[in-house]
């Protein structure tokens, strides 16, 4: 059944809206972008031979291939490419505002959370295929639901079942320490010393009351993580396709603003653009990467962004 569906098409939001099988959609989504995926290799000692290299002073004599020295009377070092493991953490915003769905466009009726869930599952699938540990921290209803990385041999199924059971409710916890402590605990569980080999992928819509999301994420910068911030923005928020008198209600707080949409459009769009600029400024840096995702666009951009970053590891 699934084989009949073209891969490109499957990552279209419309297909996601029509398909309820999260695991299938995630796998297909990965299949669409996998040709560009390369395992990160690093010279080192491993079973799999890569090449010989002439000895240079300073090399560890233990790496010399003594058998080859016996045959050729030269010093060579036997090199192999070792597989690196990169721990991936998914921080999924599962607060109420993620229920936001477009009213128009190809992603109409599809909640941001549905898209974020597919992307998260796709990351899990990639991680499982590469043998990388992956963990999930879903921020929902003032707390964090965590699946620490490295505890399952088949993290994809575990991740998919967890994602399917999640529903976006509540608000982002205002106490940022509860989140950062969870992140820190996860890092310690991995082993701590190899903390550079870790990518944190944040999937959020960026809707916060004050700046609680940014406050929670900024400590990641202090640690030497790679952070990829996927900012989900709906088409409604970018185009504001409303007219006439409309009663706007906020998802999380229930606040209401009644206004004339035509009159409010310019200010709204300007505010939205300003917010994107602010986020980009806050999360654009040496190890921080910001990616804005439109809800009406195919999702493979998210994965390609990840893979680019993964390659640099």
């Amino acid at each position: 059944m699934a084989a009949k569906i073209p891969d490109r098409q499957l990552i279209d939001p419309r297909v996601i809206a029509a398909t309820r099988d999260l695991a299938l959609v995630a796998r297909k989504l990965v299949a669409g972008v996998l040709p560009g995926m390369h395992a990160s290799r690093q010279p080192g000692l491993a079973r799999e031979f890569s090449q010989y290299r002439a000895y240079q002073p300073g090399d560890d004599p233990r790496h010399l291939d003594w058998k080859l020295y016996a045959r050729s009377d030269r010093y060579f070092l036997r090199e192999s490419e070792i597989e690196t493991t990169v721990t991936t953490r998914l921080v999924l915003d599962a607060t109420g505002s993620m229920q936001q769905a477009d009213t128009v466009g190809p992603g109409a009726g599809l909640r941001k959370f549905d898209l974020a869930r597919v992307v998260a599952a796709a990351f899990a699938w990639i991680a499982q295929a590469q043998g990388d540990p992956i963990g999930l921290h879903a921020v929902t209803d003032g707390g964090v639901v965590s699946i620490p990385p490295g505890q399952h041999r088949q993290p994809f199924e575990r991740m998919v079942s967890a994602l399917e059971s999640l529903e976006p409710v509540g608000t982002w916890p205002t106490d940022t320490r509860s989140i950062t402590s969870v992140f820190a605990a996860g890092a310690r569980a991995i082993g701590g010393a190899d903390a550079t080999r870790e990518i944190t992928i944040v999937l959020t819509d960026g809707h916060e009351h004050t700046d609680e999301i940014r406050a929670a994420l900024l400590p990641l910068r202090a640690r030497r993580h790679e952070v990829l911030l996927l900012h989900f923005i709906g088409r409604d928020e970018l185009e504001f396709p409303f007219h006439g008198p409309i009663r706007f209600e906020e998802w999380e707080s229930g606040d209401v603003v009644e206004t004339d949409a035509d009159a409010a459009r310019a200010a709204f769009l300007a505010g939205q653009a300003q917010q994107v600029r602010e986020w980009r400024r806050a999360f654009e840096g040496e190890r921080f990467h910001y990616l804005m995702l439109r809800t009406d666009e195919p999702l493979d951009r998210a994965l390609r962004g990840y893979l680019l970053q993964r390659r640099r590891q």
Partner: protein, 533 residues
């Protein structure tokens, strides 16, 4: 007080249902849930609450505009109603003031009485306003109307000669006003106290008979003056009236007049011989002939004259009777040659509705202005369509169609009555005006004594004070005369224009300028970048 010429046009105000329904049926504001309202909270003004108020204001303006249009269609008039009691000084157009009356008039005006003419509409009589046409008005009916127009407890001062001729009909009972009659002198220089009613040659051919009419404050009478030898008598004084009858003879024709302060025209003496009248009628007009014949005999009897009457039914072989007057009832019109022959013999012809003319039903009345025959206002139920010829219209009906026409042919007269002398056709034959008309027509004997302008009899003081109505009598209230109304058209047009301008302004302000669709803001678009590095 607002009044409408066409109140039914106010139904057009029902059109305001349309904007009200549109307003009511407008769907409530859509609810859109957004992740964050932060950017909406900064939108200055133009909140929905303001919009709703503006919508309501717009609705009110539109409804008011429609009401104004409906009122405009209904042609509103503002009728000025004097709130308090009024004081009117009513002056009869024929009244001549003596010193006492003038003094009273001036006193009343000084007391705040409004000077008005005692005439239909009660026009303003101040500053010597023009007196309405028609010197003699029916005082009782005018008083009744004035009482209905004024506010309760008003006062009316009537300046008119208390002549009986003014006081026809029933004495009114006034409900709103107290009326006081200020008697002005009854004498009228236009009409002398005595006049020569008729002058005729005696039956035996010798001597003259003069009928002298005289009137005074106590009575009106006619007295006969017989002059045995007119040839020898240039002037005769009537003992009863003291008037002198002056005679002159020119070309074998004796004429006379009374020598008074204002000499009258010479009245020629008529030869006293029987007037020959003949009625030629169709077979179905026997009843008409009875009424006509009775009227002719009555006229002769009243005038003391002799009229021979011959009645014939028209047949094909009828020879025209020898007569001074031929009444042709329900027969075909005279042929032109026959009419010419009759005219050479000075035979006057009176025809009624011709046989072949189609009768028309008409709920109307006689219109005979300034005619002494007193037929004005008589009801008319049937008539025939007038022929299209150039006859002089003497009377007409209420629609202006000719009713009695006259034309001369040589020395003869041709009268055409476009109805029938029958009570089913009009009230005329049953009124006293009918024999009076016959008398004036056939005998040339105008009943001058009955002319209200000549009648100088005075009413008793108890007769001229209008009765005061009982308090519980339901008073008739009329609006003020037409000159006290203000046309509101100009005002309403300006109000409507203002409302329309306001409506357009509000409407254009509340509906946004048609925005060119901006699929995505340019700023936002630039943010959609490839993976940032």
């Amino acid at each position: 007080m607002l009044q409408f010429v066409i109140p039914a046009a106010l139904l057009a105000a029902a059109g305001l249902i349309v904007p009200v329904l549109i307003h009511l049926w407008r769907p409530p504001a859509r609810t859109i849930r957004l992740g964050s309202l932060r950017f909406l909270n900064t939108v200055p003004g133009r909140r929905l609450r303001d919009l709703r108020w503006r919508d309501r204001l717009l609705l009110v303006v539109r409804v008011t505009l429609l009401i104004a249009l409906a009122v405009l269609l209904a042609q509103p008039l503002w009728v000025h109603v004097a709130l308090g009691p009024q004081r009117w000084a009513l002056r009869s157009p024929g009244a001549k003031f003596d010193a006492a009356a003038q003094r009273t008039w001036d006193e009343r005006l000084a007391q705040g009485y409004q000077p008005r003419w005692l005439a239909p509409g009660f026009p303003d009589a101040s500053n010597g306003g023009p007196a309405p046409a028609g010197a003699w008005m029916d005082a009782w009916s005018l008083l009744r109307e004035a009482d209905a127009r004024v506010a309760p407890a008003s006062q009316l001062a009537i300046f008119a000669p208390p002549r009986l001729a003014l006081l026809r009909g029933e004495r009114p009972a006034l409900a709103h006003s107290e009326a006081a009659w200020v008697a002005t002198p009854a004498a009228d220089a236009n009409f002398p106290d005595a006049w020569l009613e008729s002058l005729s040659v005696a039956r035996d051919g010798r001597g003259l008979r003069g009928m002298i009419g005289s009137t005074s404050e106590t009575g009106t009478r006619s007295s006969l003056l017989v002059i045995a030898a007119p040839a020898d008598t240039p002037a005769v004084t009537d003992v009863a009236t003291g008037a002198t009858l002056e005679l002159r003879k020119t070309n074998d024709l004796v004429s006379g007049r009374l020598t008074t302060s204002k000499p009258e025209a010479w009245l020629p003496a008529r030869v006293w011989r029987p007037v020959r009248a003949a009625i030629v009628h169709g077979p179905a007009r026997v009843e008409d002939v009875r009424y006509l014949g009775a009227a002719i005999r009555a006229a002769a009897e009243v005038a003391g004259r002799e009229i021979t009457l011959e009645v014939r039914e028209e047949t094909t072989t009828t020879i025209l009777p020898e007569a001074d007057w031929v009444f042709r009832i329900g027969v075909a019109p005279l042929s032109a040659p026959l009419s010419r022959v009759l005219a050479e013999n000075s035979v006057n012809v009176v025809s009624d509705a011709p046989l072949e003319a189609a009768e028309e039903s008409a709920q109307t009345w006689f219109v005979a202005p300034e005619d002494p025959a007193d037929v004005d206002g008589l009801r008319l139920w049937k008539r025939v369509a007038p022929a299209r010829d150039a006859r002089t219209v003497i009377w007409s009906d209420g629609f202006g169609a000719p009713l009695l026409t006259y034309s001369g042919e040589g020395r003869a007269e041709r009268w055409q009555f476009l109805s029938r002398f029958h009570p089913e056709w009009s009230d005329w034959v049953r009124s006293g005006a009918f024999p009076g008309w016959i008398r004036s027509l056939v005998l040339r004997d105008f009943a001058a004594a009955n002319h209200p302008a000549r009648d100088r009899r005075l009413a008793d003081a108890r007769q001229i004070e209008p009765a005061r109505a009982a308090r519980d009598l339901e008073a008739v209230t009329l609006t003020q005369p037409a000159d006290r109304t203000t046309d509101l058209h100009a005002w309403l047009w300006s109000i409507g224009a203002l409302l329309l301008a306001l409506e357009r302004w509000l409407s254009l302000r509340s509906s946004p300028a048609p925005s060119i669709a901006t699929p995505r803001a340019p700023a936002a678009k630039s943010e959609i970048l490839e993976v940032s590095r």
